[in-house]
């Protein structure tokens, strides 16, 4: 029994996401160095760190936007290290972008519809969706969930910043997500919009885990159960939110940064 369990955990079968020794070089610059992170299914974690700590590079390696220079990435036990991004997305991985990555020439509804279509069949369909199209309804529901029903036929280019951030989240929740990477979802949001964001994050179904990059500690620490602190491309510290918050070294890094 023990050896089976060991073998299973050795291949990361129990983890939603498992990174082992992930290194990413840009020329001589190491954006990530030997990063090892394991996240359980349904676990919600914050990644903290100053600018240049490697947080977004970490996301790009997990989604496959960049391939790691070395190391392995497993998603629900499957080695996805060399998979193209769309293969990882179809397996239930999702992400949002720090700078909204939307389709400005299309309507809100079409943006969300594309997200729903991307993780289902018929991506190449030549037939327009009918009145009772299941994906159209799914898109409607998602638009409603992020409070954008009133503007759903407007082109995305015309939306306010806060609305674009909400759409950004809607795109990442299409289909059946199993694990989501949120890259600074609160960036540029008003206090009211932040409250709405926290509500959306905390009301996600329990089986959906996520990693959130967030500078706003008030947001980050209210929506996660564990924290990974990164510094200079390495994992600096891992722990519970309150441990990290009270850690003198972390305080040194975060508050010390203010003196520069």
């Amino acid at each position: 029994m023990d050896s089976v369990a060991q073998r299973l955990s050795a291949v990361g079968a129990g983890a939603a996401l498992e990174l082992r020794g992930v290194t990413r070089l840009f020329g001589a610059l190491a954006a990530l160095t030997d990063v090892t992170i394991t996240v359980r299914p349904g676990e919600r974690r914050a990644v903290l760190g100053s600018n240049g700590a490697g947080k977004t590079t970490l996301f790009n390696c997990i989604t496959g936007d960049f391939l790691p220079s070395s190391g392995t990435i497993r998603f629900f036990g499957e080695d996805v290290t060399h998979f193209p991004p769309y293969e990882r997305i179809r397996r239930g991985l999702r992400r949002t972008y720090q700078i909204s990555a939307l389709f400005p020439g299309l309507s809100v509804q079409d943006n969300v519809y594309l997200a729903c279509r991307g993780v289902s069949r018929g991506r190449f369909s030549f037939l327009r969706p009918g009145k009772n199209d299941a994906l159209m309804h799914a898109a409607d529901n998602l638009v409603q969930a992020v409070h954008l029903s009133a503007v759903k036929d407007q082109r995305v280019a015309e939306l306010a910043h806060g609305q674009q951030r909400q759409l950004e989240i809607a795109l990442a929740l299409a289909g059946a997500p199993r694990f989501v990477l949120f890259d600074e979802p609160a960036a540029g949001l008003s206090p009211t919009e932040r409250a709405e964001l926290i509500e959306i994050l905390t009301s996600l179904p329990a089986h959906i885990g996520y990693i959130i990059i967030e500078h706003d500690m008030d947001v980050a620490l209210r929506v996660v159960e564990s924290v990974t602190m990164m510094h200079n491309g390495r994992v600096f510290k891992e722990g519970l939110p309150q441990e990290i918050q009270s850690d003198p070294e972390v305080q040194e890094l975060y508050l010390g940064g203010g003196h520069d």
């Binding site: 999702r94 991307g118 991506r123 030549f126 009133a150």
Partner: protein
């Protein structure tokens, strides 16, 4: 409460809110008038206008439409659309019946045409598969290189393409007791194919395939992060556009009854780009407007210039100046000018905020 809400999200007329959920032209009286005029054209126009102006403009319009589909929806500027049409024309001549009996295989048209369409679609898809590995100006360079290579190949190959003389007296279809190359039947064949291509592109723009293509244009990286295989989508777009261009190629060889390297020159490739840009690449009607302007200028600018005491061969100068003016004042071509003119003559409350409307 409701007032405050309304202020934040200004109410708009239903038409402007849901721009493309239905066929946009159905409620447009101008579109019905244009369609009616096109259908009764043989009653109005003589054979010269019917074929040399309207059929020719429609054929060029179909070619430019294939470029509009790639460039407007997919963000890929392909300069090989005319080459694909020319390749189809050659294949119709080679597999079908022509005066060059040593080359043509003599197949009936209903075998030669599907063969030519299939080969040309394969040719365009292969070219597309090469081109999608690049972006922007490099896509233009690769497709232009394919066009130039094909031009020089047809000039130098005698076994299949009959060198610089090309293939002449290509047979055209006769069946049901109708000579389909006679002016009026041929006009209706061309009109039917053009309408089919136009509505196919219009329809596809709102289907998942077309929407995803517009997504690829706006943000390929995000499309990959939504589960789309971006390159496969782009290659599929080339396949569809190649088929559209190939249809135009069949009509072109039936129109002139001959095909030679002059018809697939690099200059002609660029003409298709000019037609699409002058007409406007944001909507499928643009290429047809561009083609009509181009053909009218090509046909009448000569007389016009001579009357002014200038060299008639300068008609390209007129086209070039028109092209410059369009690119300078209206990045979405003549239809963009038209839309802006209409918006400025409309009561303010009616005006949709978006400048560029797709589909």
């Amino acid at each position: 409460m409701s007032l405050a809400h309304d202020a934040r999200v200004p109410a708009r007329p239903a038409l402007a809110q849901r721009p493309a959920r239905t066929w946009p032209e159905i409620n447009n009286p101008a579109a019905w008038i244009v369609a009616a005029i096109l259908v009764i054209m043989p009653l109005i126009a003589n054979g010269f206008f019917l074929i040399e102006i309207f059929a020719t403009a429609l054929i060029l319009g179909i070619m430019a439409l294939s470029l509009m589909f790639l460039a407007g929806y997919g963000g890929m500027v392909s300069l090989m659309q005319l080459t694909i049409a020319g390749f189809t024309a050659y294949m119709v001549a080679v597999f079908g019946v022509s005066g060059n009996t040593n080359i043509s295989l003599g197949w009936p048209w209903w075998l030669a045409v599907p063969m030519a369409l299939a080969l040309a679609t394969a040719f365009g898809t292969l070219g597309g598969a090469l081109a999608v590995r690049t972006e922007g100006i490099y896509t233009i360079m690769i497709t232009l290189a394919i066009g130039a290579a094909f031009y020089y190949f047809t000039n130098q190959n005698w076994a299949i393409f009959n060198g610089h003389t090309g293939i002449n007296t290509v047979a055209t279809p006769h069946f049901w007791g109708v000579n389909w190359r006679a002016d009026i039947p041929f006009y209706y064949v061309v009109l039917a194919v053009a309408a089919l291509c136009y509505f196919a592109v219009e329809y596809l723009a709102r289907a998942p395939f077309g929407l995803a293509l517009q997504g690829v244009r706006d943000n390929p990286r995000r499309m990959a992060a939504l589960g789309f295989n971006v390159n496969a989508h782009r290659v599929a777009a080339y396949a569809f556009a190649s088929f559209v261009a190939a249809l135009a190629g069949v009509l072109q060889v039936w129109n002139y009854r001959q095909i030679s390297p002059g018809s697939v020159s690099v200059g002609a490739c660029i003409d298709v780009l000019i037609i699409a840009v002058v007409g406007g690449i944001t909507r499928p009607i643009g290429p047809f407007i561009g083609a009509l302007i181009f053909v009218l200028l090509r046909t009448f600018a000569l007389d016009f210039l001579v009357r002014l005491g200038l060299d008639g061969n300068r008609f390209r100068l007129l086209i070039g100046l028109g092209f410059l003016a369009i690119v300078f004042w209206s990045s979405d071509g003549v239809i963009g000018l038209w839309q802006r003119w209409r918006q400025s003559h409309r009561p303010r409350s009616d005006r949709p905020a978006g400048g560029r409307g797709h589909g």
